[in-house]
Amino acid sequence: MTDEVILLDFWPSPFGMRVRIALAEKGIKYEYKEEDLISNKSPLLLQMNPVHKKVPVLIHNGKPIAESLIAVQYIDEVWNDKSPLLPSDPYQRSQARFWADYVDKKIYEVGKNLWMKKGEEQEAAKKEFIEVIKLLEQELGDKTYFGGDKLGFVDVALIPFYTWFKGYETFGNINVEKESPKFIAWAKRCIKIESVSKSLPDQDKIYDFIVEIRKKIGIE
């Protein structure tokens, strides 16, 4: 039986990028469906993710899996013949889940405040963002990737946000490389990997997207 795999996604979504990378790592053929989140959510999206109405949604043989990290784990478990993303050791698995969850809790919201807010709120976001990056850099240590020798769960969870860095740095007026050179070195290593580079849009495209949103919301 051939698997039917569909991904409902939105090109700038870092959460969608995670699933794209996982699918690419496993060499899974799938149909990519672009959702226009700005104007019109498709009936398929509303049917497949009625609870949150968000992307990404992975649809495997008609069955939907929502929430990016849950979808990545599902992909890792079902297509377990190659490129394992989660470690096999339970303790290491728990640590991978912990740090991926940390990324979920911290990067998106804090990053958003860098390009959406001004004044005190933005200053607080700047401080917190650098702290978060430094903590992740510490966790990475001397490893090539968070997953060790190869791309792992935390790498997949985190690298998509790198595409948003030009936006974070420009509008947030921060220089991540200066503060955390090892972090940027890790990011550059990751985007050299084929499954990552073909899944992620250019930093410039994301930057233009942020400029557009800021205009729409009325931030100048």
Binding site: I65, E67, Q73, Y74, E77, P90, Y91, R93, S94, Q95
Partner: protein
């Protein structure tokens, strides 16, 4: 397994800690409990060292290695003691569904409860009660789908999602009691009402959901603390 090999830093009142205790009970594991001070002041050295990122309970310490975040701990317990009754469903898709609803609970269920306790006036509470009722509605549907006609979200025995949701039943009764408004009602959620009774009576759960009276007392202290915190910002 020697008792001292598994340590749990917790608080009697925390639903997140209850999740871990239930999981340990399912696996018939003995453990040493380190009880944190009720108001969390001061945090123990052990807690600060074991959970430097968040400083929160629960923290499971197994063979001197700490694991944090309740649902991650529950998965760790299931992964490590894999031969005993399993906590997560065996089917990958069912697992993703269970994880989805557990994440939903973590996002949607506790924040309105905290707000209901914190805000001062009844009109302010209304929207939070509405959120809770919406969650109950969705969880009732989820129960029908996940249980597939059986007693629990996990099927014949309690599983991951039962633990994730059921751990909050103590605090739910505090809200219903203090504000005289039922959220888990027969007319809206007939399956969940029955499930809740079965859950608290389950051998792995018995005694772990604190008595409402005890939690009500604590909620008064927390109310002051949370209102103070808002006042300060």
């Amino acid at each position: 397994m020697a008792k001292s090999e598994v340590k749990l830093i917790g608080k009697w009142s925390s639903p997140y800690v209850a999740r871990v205790k239930i999981a340990l009970n399912i696996k018939s594991l003995e453990y040493e409990i380190f009880e944190e001070n009720e108001t969390f002041n001061p945090k123990s050295d052990l807690l600060v060292q074991s959970n430097p990122v968040y400083g929160k309970v629960p923290v499971l310490i197994h063979q001197d290695k700490p694991i944090c975040e309740s649902l991650i701990i529950v998965e760790y317990i299931d992964d490590t003691w894999s031969s005993s009754p399993s906590i997560l469903p065996s089917d990958s898709y069912d697992r993703s569904v269970a994880r989805f609803w557990a994440a939903y609970i973590d996002q949607k269920w506790f924040p309105p409860m905290q707000s209901i306790i914190t805000v001062e006036r009844e009109e302010e509470r209304k929207p939070y009660f509405e959120v809770m009722e919406e969650v109950v509605e969705k969880m009732e549907e989820a129960f029908v789908k996940c249980s597939k006609g059986k007693q629990f979200f996990g099927g014949d025995k309690i599983g991951y999602l039962d633990i994730a949701f059921g751990s909050f039943l103590g605090w739910l009764s505090v809200i219903e009691h203090d504000y005289e408004r039922k959220v888990l009602v027969e007319e809206k959620a007939p399956n969940l009402v029955k499930w809740a009774k079965r859950f608290v009576a389950d051998p792995a759960v018995k005694g772990l959901i604190p008595e409402t009276e005890r939690l009500v007392k604590l909620s008064k202290a927390l109310q002051i603390k949370w209102r103070d915190a808002i006042g300060k910002t």
